[in-house]
Amino acid sequence: MSMLNGIRLRLRSLLRRDVTEGDLNDEIRLHIELETDKNVKAGMPPGDARREAMRVFGGVEIAKEAHRDGRGTRWLDDLVADTRFAVRAMVRSPAISGAAIITLALGIGANTAIFSAIDAVILRPLPFTAPNRLVELWEENPDRGWNRAQIAPSNFFDWNDHVHAFDGTAAYADFAGSATLTGAGDPRLVGSARVTGGFFTVLGVAPEVGRSFTDDETWDNGTNVVMLSHRLWAEEFESRREIIGTTIELDGRRAEVVGVLPARFAFPGLDADVWHPTAYPKENRAKEWFRRAHFIRGFARLRDGVTAEQANAELQTVVRRLQSEYPATNTHMGAGITPLHEFLIGDTKRPLMILLGAVSLLLLIACANVGNLLLVQAAGREREVALRLALGAGRLRLVRQALTESVLLSGVGGAAGLALGWWGTRALVALRPPQLLKVHDVHMNWTVVAYVAGIATLSGLLFGIAPALWNSARAPSDALKKGGHGDLGGTRLRRWGNALVVSEVALALVLTLGAGLLVRSFMKLRSVNPGFDATGVLTLSVGLPAARYDTFPKVTAFYDELTRRARAMSGVESVGLVSQLPATGYSWSSDFSVAGRPGPAPISQVVHRAIDAGYTTAMRVPLIRGRIFNEADRDGSPMVVLINEALATKFFPGENPVGQRVTFDRVPDSASVWRTIVGVVGNERQGSIAEEAHAEFLAPYTQDKDGGLDLVVRTRDDPRAIMRPLRAIVGALDPKLAISHLRTMEEVRAESVARERFLTTLLLAFGGVGLTLAVVGVYGVMAQLVRGRIREMGIRTALGAPARSVQWIVVRHGMLLALGGVTVGVAAALFTTRALFSLLYQVDPVDLPTFAAVPLLLIAAAVAASWIPAWRASRVDPMEALRAD
């Protein structure tokens, strides 16, 4: 009861402050009046009576204060008072507050954007049911250097049948295909994916409309069904529910729409608008190639109560049995499991964490800077603080009040940063860093807002603590004696400022060193010779629908006519066709064996592409020996093949490969196809610019009929100029074809290092801002130093010291600070830049040129920043300086 009563009273005084305060006033007034009346009755004159009443009461204000303390809401009263005071202080010095808020907004804004990405990619669970029970399955083979590799379908289906720890498995092809959607307006090229029947069921994703695939649709059952993404459904079919059961035309074939996926469904790395079941022919399971070719990715849901370790142990048993049962394909073929989320985002984690590290450094630098600003401001308010101390303000109270000011500042800065970060997040998504943000759902949410509020408050406390302590730890008499003028920046103030600048320079150095390393790495990447000449080349893909281009002569006829017309265009130098552009990955690899070599061929991983006769010329890939293809290398003519230099060096050392015969089987049999090597060409980097060229076979596409081709067109001047006419040519040949990936080869090349470019750009920007902040910090401390020692400078000048020696005092100080910061920073960077190791291309994490150049740059910038105050110091008029007090 008493506690309830107490709470009630406290609440009342909290909510109805005016009433409580008024009550107390009334009560005390009445008391004084009654006491005065009594005194008057006793014969005192009214004036004396009142005075006496007041005397007997004691201090009215003291009683009120004690009463207020008793209410238990004192802290709130103080907070309100402190905040009011802080707002006034902020408004009174708009320059300092503005600078602090902008600095903080930059730091917090950068953090907001990066954290949004981290939240979306790493922190938020995948949009599936119980996603932490999903594990990715993979194969590995030390003989072939495979690690977390694709699975051979037959192995996968055996796991599905025999590992009971799995409560359902599903597989998908991890490369997105494409299909041409016709019949609804303009032909539209859409991304397509092939998945096994259980894919959506195992993920626990229910379709928005219609049904999911069924298990028997993993195998060909004569139907052609498809599920649509929410996006395609909305954009092309007006979100009509009646679409279910009707057919759409994909690549010229009718496919029945059975379901539409919900809008929030996304599978990282598999961005498709149409989803097909795998529909493998049933007889595949009996075929050896189905266990030899590794081309699917798989995942499983763990049965309830089963741990990942138990599932893995059971999987290993099955794997060992398959190894002994199928030695031809499964020798040394291992397998393993990884949590699905980790597998899907694994390679993006490190870059994102590095970005988070960079923006954290940036925020720390911003904090040091703002701390410095506030310190200067505190020095200016020395007298005010001294007065308050002398009047009996508690030191703790002063610290609290100063912290209220800094937290308010960081609150405003945080709000501005949030706004900036909102914009930054959108910019980040718009940049679409490939392979870095595999999810599209990067946006601000309460997690992000809470994070920003957290770092803003922490920052406020961090940069506020120095001025707050400095403020409170003083003897009031000193400051009052000095009159608040003269030696404005006392020794201790200067020491605080120095410490802040040294740490700021050190942090900025770590940040810029990291950025410098990435820039060096990126420059090396840019100067790599990829083995082809990208300048002046335009490329495009044309999808030929299998339904209409159902025979091979139809396909070759189309490509022959396309290349002939393209070659005839004005400004075109040469034209070629290729199954996969360089620097975009490779589609398939295999073993091979050479005719006449004894014993089984060694295990080899060679990649394959198909080209036409014009390709190497168009891409300026040099011919090293033998010949390139010509029009005579056709379907039906003797089988020929080109090899690249890497293959020649590795597998034909000291031999002439031209004229030798090869087959793409490790153990040739009667069905093996033998091809004659007719030439050796230069190495093109197939995977990415950063990846050495793999040993490669290039076959004429006419003899290696598989999939679509990319057109490459070398122009004499601007490749963009022929974009429109080239489109027209394709349209004239077949108006129902969808054109995609119309871009210059330079763009393809740039895209191959887009992720590196993205990281480098971002880190460079952060480094630039950090460096600027540090330089501003040095400037601020130097300016303060000069202001504090203006009289000394004046005396020196008056006594005949040359301007240069006065300047040197200041510049030397700035240089010493920078040197201190650089020393600490380099020591720290020696450890931290190691985190960049896996992201650097041919650059050591402790790269000497970078570690020499960046510190020099920082010191130079610091000296430049000290120069302005130094110059001002040397121009001080001695008379004015002496009179300044």
Binding site: M1, S2, M3, N5, G6, L9, R10, D23, L24, D26, E27, I28, L30, H31, E33, L34, E35, K38, V56, F57, G58, G59, V60, I62, A63, E65, A66, H67, D69, G70, R71, G72, G392, G394
Partner: protein, 113 residues
């Protein structure tokens, strides 16, 4: 901190509260009335610091030992009247008891020493 702390020591504070409770057993009173009554009864020996009366009243109210409401005095002035609650009455008994024990103990010590 204010320069001269007027905060009464714990003994005096406790005593003042005890006196207030005792005073309120007679009838509800306002602050000034309470101070007059204490002075009268003690024949002026206990000079209550009138200013410290109000924080004491507030403490008692927070403990739930007294209640208050605004009434009009005989001279038509608005005043806050304090009254003893049942809880306060019980507390008074216990406090009086412990005060007596305390006094007799201090007294005993003073005699022997």
């Amino acid at each position: 901190m204010p320069a001269t702390p007027p905060v009464p020591s714990d003994v005096i504070r406790g005593t003042l509260e005890l006196l207030v409770l005792k005073t309120l057993t007679l009838e509800p009173m306002h602050g000034w009335g309470i101070s007059q009554r204490i002075q009268q009864v003690s024949s002026g020996v206990l000079e209550v610091n009138q200013g410290s009366l109000y924080p004491a009243l507030q403490r008692l109210e927070l403990k739930g030992w007294i209640g208050s409401d605004w009434r009009t005095t005989e001279n038509n002035r608005r005043a806050k009247y304090y009254r003893l609650t049942a809880q306060g009455r019980r507390a008074l008994g216990a406090e009086t008891e412990s005060w007596r024990r305390y006094v007799s103990m201090v007294d005993a010590i003073l005699r022997t020493a």
